[in-house]
Symmetry: D2
Subunit: 295 residues, 4 copies
């Protein structure tokens, strides 16, 4: 299985009391379905999965699957600290309809997460997972950077189909692409700011937060790239820098949700301890999308 194209890491809509609004989740997916998105990542970092209990997680997966047609991939985030629990949960999300599991590096015991430890972890998960595994590297959250040599060593496992790299480090991405070029291995960026240059260098696509807000524009970058229309791709990508920063590093998930609200999706609240964004921040987000011509 090859993962290509654009996949939004979808958010979990909450009401002001922190309760999940499953109907809003479904409506968001149905609106995204009007586009050519290749699929969805459910229970990723942007899905606030660390704030959910297992029952909530599985209900979100099942609800999403109902709205996600079989023609589109449903990727589900499953990484947990323990090998055993990760495998158990992988089986549960498979039963709930997942096509691919996206497995984050365990990270609490940072100093123990050596090449050998992570290698064994991912191999055991991949051996026991009924569905394909996508590695997930996100040092800004985990505090550890999955080494290139670990990714390369794992790339030959038949049930490991690729990596989502959210480090934003295109040097590392280039290195992985070069060293896994003989494998049928998908390399996706997790950074919306580098979607176009990542494609240029050989990435197969992106799982990027901004695709929750501007799916069509992300798909435009993909199309322009494929058509060889690099000047327009560059111009669009550059124009998307500021909006992408606003919904990621600057205002994080509450900012992403505020932007979704502006574009007719159900953004809604985040769960505490994430604080709601202020009115001034919401205004700044709106200005960012207005000034760049997306709104």
């Amino acid at each position: 299985m090859k993962l290509e194209g654009v996949f939004p890491p979808i958010t979990t809509p909450f009401d002001d009391n922190g309760c999940i609004e499953y109907n809003h989740l479904a409506e968001n997916i149905e609106k995204w379905n009007e586009t050519d998105l290749s699929g969805y990542l459910v229970l990723g970092s942007n899905g606030e999965s660390v704030f959910l209990n297992e029952d909530e997680k599985l209900k979100i997966v099942k609800t999403s699957r109902k709205s996600i047609p079989q023609s589109r991939k449903m990727l589900v985030g499953v990484g947990l600290e323990s090998t055993k629990i990760t495998i158990e949960f992988t089986k549960k999300v498979t039963d709930s309809g997942a096509d691919v599991v996206v497995v984050i590096t365990p990270h609490f015991f940072k100093n123990n997460m050596s090449h050998e430890t992570l290698l064994k972890y991912f191999l055991m998960v991949a051996d026991d997972s009924p569905i394909p595994v996508l590695l997930y590297n996100v040092p800004q959250f985990t505090g550890i950077d999955l080494e290139v040599k670990t990714v390369v060593a794992l790339s030959s496992h038949e049930n490991i189909i690729g990596v989502k790299d959210s480090s934003g480090n295109i040097e590392q991405l280039s290195d992985i692409i070069y060293l896994t070029r003989k494998e049928n291995f998908s390399v996706l960026t997790g950074s919306g700011i580098i979607l176009y240059p990542a494609l240029c260098i050989g990435a197969t696509g992106g799982i990027v937060a901004i695709a929750c807000v501007l799916p069509e524009r992300c798909l435009d970058i993909l199309r322009l790239y494929k058509d060889g229309n690099h000047e327009e791709a560059k111009a669009l990508q550059i124009r998307m820098v500021d909006p992408t920063i606003a919904v990621t590093s600057k205002y994080a998930i509450p900012g992403l949700k505020a932007a979704m609200d502006l574009f007719g999706y159900h953004g809604g609240s985040s769960r505490l301890p994430l604080l709601p964004i202020t009115d001034a921040e919401t205004k700044d987000i709106k200005n960012t999308f207005t000034n760049t011509g997306f709104l």
Copy 2:
């Protein structure tokens, strides 16, 4: 409530298949009960709590309480990423017999964990917790360092009784002690290497891994300090440096468990992805304790 003295952050004994050996847990506590330890931290980092599911956690708390007399404090680690889930779990461990909850900083969304966010998080948990709260700062695992100003702001809440600081940063510890001196606030170090200097500077005690292995020696440091026998305290502390490093930064929890095995406790295995230590490493640990005269 004032927390004073030495508290081991107790390990969770597993068999080779990763199953919890509750009888070993109880036997360990009974052996520790023969000493003057002030109490125990259950479900701390060393308890591998990130590898346990909720049922396991609560059974460990209940099992521990049966062996821990009311005269000794049972501290229980409860921090989770979500405010709501942390509060819910706090109530459950209270019902299972905890005396104090030890609340780690949420940390997945590192960039969002501002002073304001953490302040609100801890205040909400402290407001709703039926039992006293001990703040827990452990940057080597969480990737964030609880700021002094946040600790100081929280120190005036009547249900927040102190902080466990595992940063090993005695500058920071000194600053906290100075700025909270008017409150009835307990400052405990989480680093066994600095137990004696931390006492010198005003810490009320330690929650230190080495106390699982050498509880009497940790208590000796405390007694020597109180008796004004600083030369002997220093000599003993310095002698404990290498053994402490062996069971923490050098070999981590598998090393701690191997050392416990050497001293008649049930160390046992760790859960994957933590790899078992090798025979050579076990031998090195034994040598470390032998060469320093503890074995």
Copy 3:
């Protein structure tokens, strides 16, 4: 003045006793002059400028100028910790023939290097420099990352013509390009691995170590990019990943010099404390260039 194209950050050839071989320096430049390189960076990080005294530095600048025709730019690295000394040295290299000064962020007192401090520093240097200034950001050496907002604030100064960003962070590069797009501001990458994707996103060129070894291949990337031949540009860039890593992060300057030796340049020794690379490392470097078809 616009800086476009490829500029090698040239090395300083030493003999085994650490003495500068000025004739080798001149011969290297003359060999590079056979290509279409836009110019040279003298006394950059790769020039081991931190190991040189002022007399040596100025003699290197003068020697280089004799071999560098006026049609090619001579960029000279001048950043020092003190504002005053930086300005004084800037005037001296101007008198010695420099066209542009490349000014690294001061960095010893890291915690003091705020936006305000760096802003004032670069403005004072730019005000007093007789020749244009290129900002130089290299966090892997300085431990500080020049903030985007500082670069943007400086971009409107008429004597500040651009930035060399060696962070390898293409997100940051994109952000700078977007925010300085109305100025006549050159953005050059300092990372050879991202030369092609940096061009895609709007960089005007690169000052990259691998250009000391493979100038023609770097120029090929530039030409292929300009011709719209993106597939070949990508393939060539990806093929250059491993050689580039070998002469930068993997084996550093001694590795770069060993590679130069392989390609008919005078690499020579580095100054201590940099240790010479071993025979096995030299062999690995040779294999890297052979396996990728460059040798």
Copy 4:
């Protein structure tokens, strides 16, 4: 030679134009000479040595020596990036009257500063230095932390007499003290906040910025410690936390100089790019010393 007691890392007084006021330097030393300070560190980080040229440095050393009696040690900071230049400069400061050279880790090429590289560097410097060498570890400025194993390996060289550790990491300090206990090796802390606990754990003294402002109080801590008056030592140390923070991490060298002005020393200006502190900051510094009863 054993280094014991308190040594201020003395500042370099500048006028508002950045010119050195040598008479102020001499007057400061003469005022400090009224105390029992064991000696002085000239050209340390606090001496703004990175902002000085060689002529200025040597004139400062000679001026200082005139005021420093032979009964007190004159330590001089000499570390530079190149082995050769460090050795040359070491000989010059020896000729200018230095008793000990304090050698900082080279650090520009951080990734190259391996154990082997630093070992060879310090051994070569120690071999060629006419006077004893004190190792200097200051990760907050250099970005590298001298490893315990490197210090231990160097401790057996007869011309390496100790280490100044400014990391503030008392775990590391304890480890060094334990592992070098059989050598005649002086371990001095560079952090004024941990002077008392460092003594408790076996440090022989401190080279601490606050000793420029409150030399008598630092000496009080030493005396109280030696007299076994631990309660008073602790109380005094804790009281010094806030003033020490004010003149180091909070306001850096400009803050240290402002505090010196308050206590009758010639603080004066710092060189650019360090910005002058504001009136509000000066007032805050004054309040800090007043509120803690030192002023």
